[in-house]
Symmetry: C2
Subunit: 149 residues, 2 copies
DNA sequence: TTGTAATAGTTGTTTTTGTAACTAACAAGC
DNA sequence: GCTTGTTAGTTACAAAAACAACTATTACAA
């Protein structure tokens, strides 16, 4: 009872999930082993390292992450002295997040790993394909307008 | 403190995760709302619908899913009468899974939805790009040899 | 045969996530 | 000033995933 015209392994969401999971594995191992971080935490760290001081909401908007996820990630990162939180004086609801020296160091390390890792992953592709692939992925992500509360 | 040469949104694992999550959302809503299924269950259903009668291990090997995930998915699918489980007489450890009529119906419905959905997702791409994208994703998934126990 | 290892699948326990309800601070209208 | 609504972020509880230990059955070798 198979359908010649539909192959599960060609179904884009399935394919994307498989590729995402596979390609995250090795990198995950690194930030987990070296810094005991979870994916959410790594993401927050990268946002702060890359774009500098931000608030939790800003990170959430950029990364399409729910605020509770971020809240918990920040909490853990702060406990481990990777980030500092400082209240805004004008609006005392918001909190500015920034990396500590330790956070900077971890970021620098992982950032460099990521860069190399990305290179390895796309090593098989020609430069054109590499660009095309990423463009298509960006387009796919953008297709759905930030589906979180 | 930003690095001109590394953009988080261009980091392949990140990009893949975003695209995977975004593209799964709408489809997930459908199988969840219509049949109360989880992603794992949907996957098992599709494997059985597409390739016919199989054992749990076979599904695990194909889908790169851990056996506990499958065990629980099968349990729920069986409770809801979507699949039947029959012991193998020769080797009484193994169990053959197959879809019930109800399972077939659900599969047929979702299969058709998936097909349409996939079409919509890749609508923006030319046929060449579509093929190229999927090829690259398959290659990326294969790059890591089934990293599960 | 009997003892050891391997395989199929399950169950129990701990992490992580998702969802919803909550507090605190601000904003705007009246 | 008050009420009503909104936003930033947290907390509590339920759902799902990850991980490890387990049972039952088969394989295989001394």
């Amino acid at each position: 009872m198979s359908d010649a015209d539909f192959d599960l392994t060609q179904f884009l969401p399935y394919l994307l999930n498989q590729a995402a999971e596979a390609s995250s594995l090795e990198f995950q191992k690194i930030y987990k082993d070296r810094y005991g971080m979870l994916r959410t935490e790594w993401r927050v760290l990268f946002h702060l390292g890359l774009y500098g001081r931000m608030t939790a909401s800003e990170i959430g908007a950029r990364a399409n992450m729910h605020k509770t996820k971020i809240s918990r990630a920040v909490q853990r990162l702060a406990e481990r002295r990777f980030v500092t939180r400082t209240r805004d004086d004008a609006d005392r609801r918001v909190e500015h997040l920034a990396l500590t020296a330790q956070g900077q160091a971890a970021y620098a390390d992982l950032h460099q790993v990521a860069q190399r890792y990305d290179g390895d992953l796309t090593a098989g592709l020609g430069p054109d394909d590499r660009v095309a692939l990423k463009k298509m992925l960006v387009a796919l992500s953008a297709k759905f307008p930030a589906g979180f509360t």
